[in-house]
Assembly symmetry: C2
Homo-oligomer: 336 residues x 2
């Protein structure tokens, strides 16, 4: 089942069910007005949503064409956004890039940080950047959306809490990272609003691509129309989503709608390219003594997508342009 | 105006308006069903809520007795919980306690971390601790709840975004902190669910106690019935809430209902006592070579409250007991 959130002028948008080919949708408001409400009462509502999805596949319900610009993040705001860093290759390269050592517990203890979640970007929303000297970078990731997770959940119990899978652009301001981490409290200003793909899918939609809490498919990123990376998201994800869930639930519970990210997808095989500019800059530093690839500039366009093994698009495309952010004098929100 | 959230079996509870003396309440569901909905549409709903509060003061509306055990956190779940560390004395003492230096930018750049926010504890909820060796500690704090904050908001603009003020127990697992911070990504497992006071107040209720984004009143903490601290929350809050808001909004926007904490309230004057056990343990280490005060044990009871200058209670009392956490075999939530 493929779900999405339609822009309707409200803070949370309106839940829709999307046809498997991504081209048409049916309103699901009669079942649950919003994605969060569906997640809040998933056990009761999932069967009804699946029935609607089935009717949509069979053209047995009123449907409408999908316009990606009218879609918001599947959860336009969420109660938790916890991002891991589960690809060892990325950790090693990025730490080298800022002259830091990988932690001693690199392979035994997952790295996660808590991100901001009150105001996500939708799949075609611009990246609002106030200052290009902050070093704006994309990070292409896979993410899961959870049901209620009790404190003390183990990795072997975690599968039953994964409701949906999607992909993410975890925008990062690289030049703010070193000073911020030096203070010891982790990322904050260096992680502006995160963007999400149009569609969130139940794991069964990934078929054999969803194994042991990992998505065994390639995540494609293009920059200004040029493919920059298509790494395999599965084999090198050192900690699976189940491991990450067990890690975060050690000391507290999580409510429905919690989003957990994989961290930047990264392969040791350089042929697979990059899912963030920081990795390319590190390789340039190793080979040429200094980075030559600049961070994102105004007008740069990032696209992120994933196909199944038959070449069919899964999550729709994140396609964002970096734009100059100028604060409005009014205090109201403009996104909705 | 004094607002609270009544337990009603749902995830978000039901919004109520509380009389100034904290003894009786009126249902506010007809105006906004939940606290989040009130915050989402504050400009339109605040006047109606204030009118109801006025009628409640004048006994001109149906009211009911307040039972603190029936109250949840003002926001039982929130889209962001951003906790600062704005009291220099606390930072210096706690870093000494774990053998770490205060950051070089101690007085110029605020420390904040992003906390979990999908599953807060209510004012009388037990603290569910799975392992006492984690070193469970309380942290008594002041917090504000915000409206929509645009990216780039300055400290001088921040006052207009503060909707409500409350107090907090930012429960911390001290023995997990050092290893976690050594990994470089900040707190995560070391910060279990945070607890909130019964009532959230509009800043005008604090009168002369609310000045320049600080609460100039004493925050009282008792442990097992004994007063352990009543520091002044105002003068030594190095970064005001307005400074903290400007800091967090530098690179992104925040949605209504974002909660920002002050960090552990702490005074240089030792007569004012402590708002967390870590500070007392540090002083013991300095004077006696090692800490003698243990962290919290099962059965320990923490109470946190604040009065105005006339001695009237403001936020109601956080009163929590540390209990053994045992995971249930079922997957459902039990809190509501």
């Amino acid at each position: 089942m493929k779900l999405a959130t339609l822009r309707d002028g409200t803070r949370d948008g309106r839940l829709i069910v999307v046809r498997r080919d991504g081209t048409r949708f049916a309103h699901a408001s009669a079942i649950a007005p919003t994605m969060q409400r569906a997640l809040d009462d998933w056990d009761a509502l999932e069967p009804k949503l699946r029935e609607l999805a089935e009717r949509l596949e069979n053209d047995a319900v009123e449907s409408h064409p999908v316009d990606p610009t009218q879609l918001r993040a599947p959860l336009p705001r969420a109660y938790e956004w916890v991002d891991g860093s589960a690809y060892i290759n990325h950790i090693v390269l990025v730490r080298k890039a800022r002259g830091a050592e990988p932690p001693a517990t690199l392979r035994t203890d997952p790295l996660v940080y808590q991100g901001g979640s009150s105001d996500f970007l939708g799949p075609t929303d611009d990246i609002p950047l106030a200052d290009p000297s902050w070093g704006c970078d994309f990070e292409s990731e896979v993410a899961v959306i959870l049901g209620d997770v009790p404190q003390g959940t183990t990795a072997s119990e975690a599968a039953s809490y994964v409701r949906l899978v999607t992909i993410v652009n975890d925008v990062t301001l690289r030049n703010i990272v070193p000073e911020e981490l030096a203070k010891g409290f982790g990322f904050f200003q260096s992680k502006p609003a995160t963007a999400f793909a149009p569609f969130a899918l139940t794991p069964d939609e990934l078929g054999a691509g969803w194994i042991d809490g990992r998505v065994h498919l390639r995540l494609r990123t293009t920059l200004n129309g040029t493919l920059v990376g298509d790494p395999e998201a599965g084999p090198e994800m050192h900690f699976s989503f189940f491991d990450l869930i067990a890690h975060i639930a050690k000391t507290r519970a999580f409510g429905a709608g919690t989003i957990v990210g994989s961290g930047t997808v990264s392969n040791e095989d350089r042929e697979r390219g990059i899912s963030c500019l920081a990795e390319r800059r590190m390789r340039e530093t190793i080979e040429q003594g200094k980075p030559t690839t600049p961070f994102l500039a105004y007008g740069d366009r990032v696209e992120i997508e994933m196909q199944d093994r038959a070449g069919r698009d899964l999550f729709g495309r994140i396609e964002q342009t970096v734009v100059r952010y100028e604060k409005k004098s009014a205090t109201g929100r403009t996104k909705s």
